[in-house]
Every structure is written in C-alpha cells, then in structure tokens.
C-alpha cells in the first residue's frame, strides 16, 4: 500500500511547478537570444564546432579586407601603367615622326623637347605614391621615391622583392610590381625605359638613325604590358577568390546557424506546451490542496 506524506505531497507539487518554471524560463531565454546553445555545457561538441566556424568566418572576413587592399593597389598600378603605356606609345609615334626624312633638324629638335617632357612624366609616374604616401613600385622599400635621377641617369632605389599580402588561408598575393621589373633592364644591354626614352631625345637632337630607339621602345612597351598583364591576372584571381570566399562564407554561416541558432517554430510550440504544463500543475495543485478530511470534522 502506497501512502504519501502530506509534506511530500506539497513538496512534490511545488517542485513540479518550479521545474516547469525553470524549463519555461530556459525556453524564454532561447527565444529572446535566438540561440539554441546558451552555454557550452548545453552541447560541448556543438559549442566547439561553432567556435571553429566563427574562427573561419572571422578569418574569411579578414581575407576579404586584405583582398580589398590588394585590389586597390593593383588597380592604382594598372591606371598608372596605362598612362606609362600611353607615354611610350606617344614616344614611338614621335620617333617615327623624327625618323621621317621630311622632318628637318629644327622639327627634330622640337620633337626632342616633347620627348624630354615624356621622360619627365614617366619618371613622375614611376615614382607614383599610394594613398599612404608609399611609392607604388618600391617593392619592400616604399618610404622613399622608387627612382632617382642623378647626372642624367635614372636609377632604381627600391627593393627587388614584391610585397605580398595574405588573401586566403594558403595564398599570398603581390600587391604590386617592383620598379625594376617594370622599367629596368629592357634591352640586351640592360638599359632602362628611361635610358631608352633619353636616348631617343639624344638621337633626335643628333640627327642619327632612330631604328634602335624604335626597337627598344617596343621592348619597353612590351615589358610594361607584361607587368600590366600580370596585374590583370592577379585582379582576375582576386575575383575568383572573392567568389570562393563568398560561397564559403554562405556555407559556413548556414552550418553555424544550424548548430547555434534556434528553430523558432519548434521553440514557440515548446513554450506553449510548457505554459500548458505549468498552468495545469498550478491549477491541479490549487484544487488538490483544498481537499482535506479536516474540512469535514
């Protein structure tokens, strides 16, 4: 025969209500925060998995930022080198003009003046700075101008190594060409683009044959185009990486959401069930606790 003490009856009923309230409160916090996992102990494995996913997402965001920096610099390089290409093309036109027998020495001298201007502009472009005031073409050494002019000779003062930035977990990408790769060592005798343009001006003034200059200008033009092509390829690669990154972020976000985010429909249904249970326990307790034999004495 089961007998139950009055004390225990009250204790059990109260405990039941407290348990119901605790469950309800937990569901309420879940609904308020939108999170399934409130502390790691709710789901230790899930908590660690979500930490990992958050690392990946945060790193991903960082890589997106790094890519933005690389992209800005590559685009600036491209617009600078585009103008260098234009200058070299203009120099070539002028060389053809000067080589034409109909142009007299006076005309050639005038052309030489323009070529001098071109040389000056090209040097200015080669020393272009980014928004931080760093030389675009200095490689690892950008705090001073990449090129200097002394005694009519332009020399490269920057570093021969490209600066790279981290653009994905396992990929670093150069944020620009070195000045040497773009402007120096153009022809067989190792002349720079500046020396070639300078030689053109000299040739024009001296009235000599300009076919060597024309050939060298083509070489210089090609070298700059090659640098632009490499920059373009990097920009394309950045686009690819950005797409991969975005896809990855979507996948990771959805995984993270699956682990930590609350299923609202389920939680609301659960809360309703718990509310009913709490009300039932309160009402039944209120009714049952009125029953006592002493009421009839």
């Amino acid at each position: 025969m089961e007998r139950i003490s009055t004390f225990l009856f009250h204790q059990r009923a109260t405990q039941g209500m407290l348990d119901n309230q605790a469950r309800l409160s937990r569901t309420q916090i879940q609904l308020a925060t939108g999170k399934k996992i409130l502390t790691p102990s709710d789901d230790p494995a899930g908590a660690v998995k979500s930490l990992d996913l958050q690392h990946y997402l945060a790193s991903n965001a960082q890589f997106v930022g790094n890519m933005g920096v690389v992209r800005t610099r590559l685009e600036q390089q491209e617009s600078t080198l585009e103008r260098v290409t234009d200058l070299l093309q203009r120099a070539r036109e002028l060389a053809l003009q000067g080589n034409n027998g109909t142009t007299g020495q006076v005309g050639r001298n005038g052309i030489a003046e323009e070529v001098d201007q071109l040389l000056e502009q090209m040097l200015a472009l080669a020393n272009a700075q980014d928004s931080n005031g760093e030389s675009l073409f200095g490689g690892l050494d950008r705090t001073r101008p990449a090129f200097s002019l002394a005694g009519g000779v332009v020399s490269y003062d920057g570093s021969d190594e490209q600066r790279q930035l981290q653009v994905s977990e396992d990929r670093r990408m150069a944020d620009g060409e070195t000045g040497r790769a773009v402007f120096m060592g153009v022809n067989g005798s190792g002349d720079s683009a500046f020396a070639i343009v300078g030689a053109l001006a000299q040739g024009l003034r001296a009235g000599t044959d300009l076919s060597t200059s024309l050939r060298d200008l083509d070489l210089a033009h090609n070298q700059v185009l090659a640098a632009r092509a490499r920059g373009g390829a990097r920009l394309n690669a950045l686009d690819d990486l950005a797409n991969i990154n975005a896809d990855m972020a979507v996948t990771l976000e959805s995984q993270l959401s699956e682990i930590q985010d609350l299923d609202y429909a389920e939680a609301v249904a659960r809360m309703n069930r718990q509310l009913v249970a709490l009300q039932a326990s309160q009402q039944s307790y209120a009714k049952l606790s009125q029953l006592s034999l002493f009421n009839y004495l």
Binding site: E2, R3, I4, S5, T6, F7, L8, T39, P40, S41, D42, P44, A45, A47, V48, L51, D52, Q54, H55, A58, S59, Q62, G65, N66, V69, N132, E134, G138, G139, L140, D141, R142, T143, G158, S159, E161, R163, Q164, L165, Q166, E169, R172, S292, L293, F294, L297
Partner: protein, 459 residues
Amino acid sequence: VASILSTGISALTAYQRALQTVGHNVANADTEGYSRQVTQFATRAPSFSGGGWMGSGVQVATVQRRYDGFLADQVRASLTGSGEADVYQAYASQLDDLYADPEMGLDPVLQRYFDAWNGVANDPTSLPARQVLLAEAEALADRFHFLARRGAEIAQGVNADLEGAVADVNTLARGIAELNEAIVQAGGMSGNAPPNDLLDQRDQLLNQLASLVRVTYFTQDDGAVNVFIGNGQSLVVGSTATSLSVDIDPADATRRVIRYGADPTSPDISAQLGGGALGGLLRVRSEVIDPSLQRLDDLAAGLAAAVNARHTAGADLDGNSGGAFFTVSTGASDIALAFTDARLVAAGTGAGASDNRNALELAALQRAKVMLGNTATLQGAYGQIVSDVGARTRHAQLNAQAQAGLLRQAQEAHSAVSGVNLDEEAAKLMHFQQAYQAAAQVIAVAGTLFDTLIAAVRR
C-alpha cells in the same frame, strides 16, 4: 462495578494518549526529519475470578516512530551523492559561463589581435595600424588577466566554501555527540522506551552531515551512534566529537587542506574525504578549476613563446632587429606587452621599411599549430579548454539530475513509511475520539450500575 470503572478509565487514559500522539503528528506534519508516531495499545494484566480470566482494560504499551533504518540509510547515501554533484555542478557551471560568454571569453580578443597583425601586414609603415596592433595585444593580455583573476576568485570561493562546510561538519558532529548523550540518558530513565523525537533530531543531523561528507556509522547497544569519516577516522564516538580544521596547503598557498584535529600538526585527510559538499569541492577543484587555469597559463605562455620567437627574428620600422613582443613569467595572470613604441613592432625582415614579411608570419600564427605538442592552434587550444569545461559541466549537470532523482526516490520511499499524512491523522482523530466517547460511556454505565445498587440497598 469498580473493575468496570477502572477498565473504562484505562481506556479513557489510553485514548487520550493516542489523541495526544495524533495531535503531535499533526503539529509536526511539516517538521523536517520528523517520523510519524503511533501509539501502541496492550491489554492490561487480566485477573482470575471464579469463572475465568477477566480482562481489566487497556494500557499504552509504547509510542513508536514509524521508521525504516534501511530506507534512512538510502536517503543518507543519496544525500552524499547529490550534495557532491550539486556543488560540483555549481562550480563547473561558473567556469562554463565564464569561458563561453562572447564578452568575457578569450576568443574574440584573440581574433582581433590576429586581425591587427593583418592590418600591419597590409600597411607595414602605417603607425596607426601598428598602434591598433599594440592596443589589441594589450586587450588580449587584459583578457588573460581577467580570466586568470576570475578563475582565482572561483578557486577562492571553493576555499571559503570548504571552510564553511568544515565548520558545519564540526557543529553537526558536536550536535550528534550531545544528542547521543541525551538519548542514552533518556533510554536509561524510561527502561529503553525509544525517545522518538531525539532520535529524529539525531537522524536529521546525520542527514545534514551526510550531505556534507561521506560518513559511515553504527549504533551501539546503549543507543549512541558512532560516526566515522575518511578511512575510518572517528568523528563522533558516544558523547565525544573530534573537530576537523581547514589549513593552508603547505605545497600551494592558494589551496586548502583538511586536517583531522584542530591544530596544524594534525594529519591531512583531504585525500581520503569524498562525497557530499566537501568531496564535491575538493573534486571540482582538482578536476575542473585547476586544470583549466593551468591550461590557460599554458596558452598564455605558448602564445608569448610563439609570438616572441617570430618577432625577435624580424626587424622594426627603423631596421633594428625585433625584441620580445610579450613578457610572461607565470602565465595568464602576468602576460604583458613588452613595449609601447609602435615603431618597435618588427613587421619586416630588414629588407626595407615597407617590408611586411614578418608581420605576415605573425598573422599566420593564427593558423599555426603551436600548442599542445604542435597539434593545435592557439584558438584550437582555447576551444579545447572551453569544450573540456563544457563537457565536464554537462556531465556534472546530468549527474546532479540523476542524483537528485535518486534522492527524491529515496526520500519518497522513506516518507511513505515515516511521513505524516493529514487525512490519515484526521481519520485517526475521529476514530480515537469515538473510542474515547465510548470509554466515557462505559464509565457512565458503571455510574448507573452503582446508582442502581445504592438505590436497591437504601430501600
């Protein structure tokens, strides 16, 4: 006629006692540890007269508490289990909350620290980027300090609770010893009639003691109960109790040991104590709190070592070779930034001011497995602390729930025998009241018989 009267009076007295016991039960329906009492009746010695043995009424044989020693033992064992599980769970949850909170945990600041290295790698000559790095590194060090301090506070909480629990054990042991004395005396006075209320009180103290630490006990023939702890050290023998004391651990001033005896030369029995709040405190300290703090220290030291090794291999903004980046001596509590001049951040390798190659490597440390014997990244190692504490807390919560369930079952079984049910008492009240009225009726009849006799004689 006289014997009818005396029989009636015996019944009147007996039912009065029974009603008194019912009243006592009703009065103590909510008294914790109270066992309902039952008045047991016995017939009085019969007398032989002529035709046979004539009954001579009723007497109260004894008032007994309804009590099952086996069920009481089960309650005590469950109290020991749930006392331990509750404390363990409470402390593990504190750490669990600490490490998990995105505002308090290490994870977000570690991420921002590595982001700042990326910022320096993107713009190695930018002083603002370097300042951001130093600020984030300092925030990281501060977070380590905070976690170490909170951990130490939690450990201090354990110490304070240990002292409180030991003080309670001592008080309870003295209480049991005093009740032993009272029970032995009461038994002697009443010819071994059970002093029910004193027994209940002592059982209640034993319950409280059992929830603090695992005890063994047995009852002597004279009614005194002897209590033992640890490996059989006597806590209460008859009317004498031995005190425990809490002392600073000679090997580690942040820890406490429990000594068997009041003075500091008494033997340390911490390792032998288990169960109850005391056992839970000792166990959560050694299984959860200390290991997680140790791993946090390892993480701080590992971070400093990995960063410094790389940083000293680089060159700062002025081309000088880099110094240490972090200083650390014991671990999480004292990791600090080694310098405050942003120019000293060794972002390069000496190839020029815009050289970012060292910064790239320092940013890539985020993904390098430099912890736990080169098997985990820094964030991975922190994740392991979080998951380990989380898993232990989860286990502790489940265990606490299971123990609470066992305790509830044991208490229900015990209470089914010993608890007061007011409806039952109400029924007994009516029953004894009717019996009392019937006995009074017997006396009234005896009075009438007597009157009849007197009237007959007078005539």
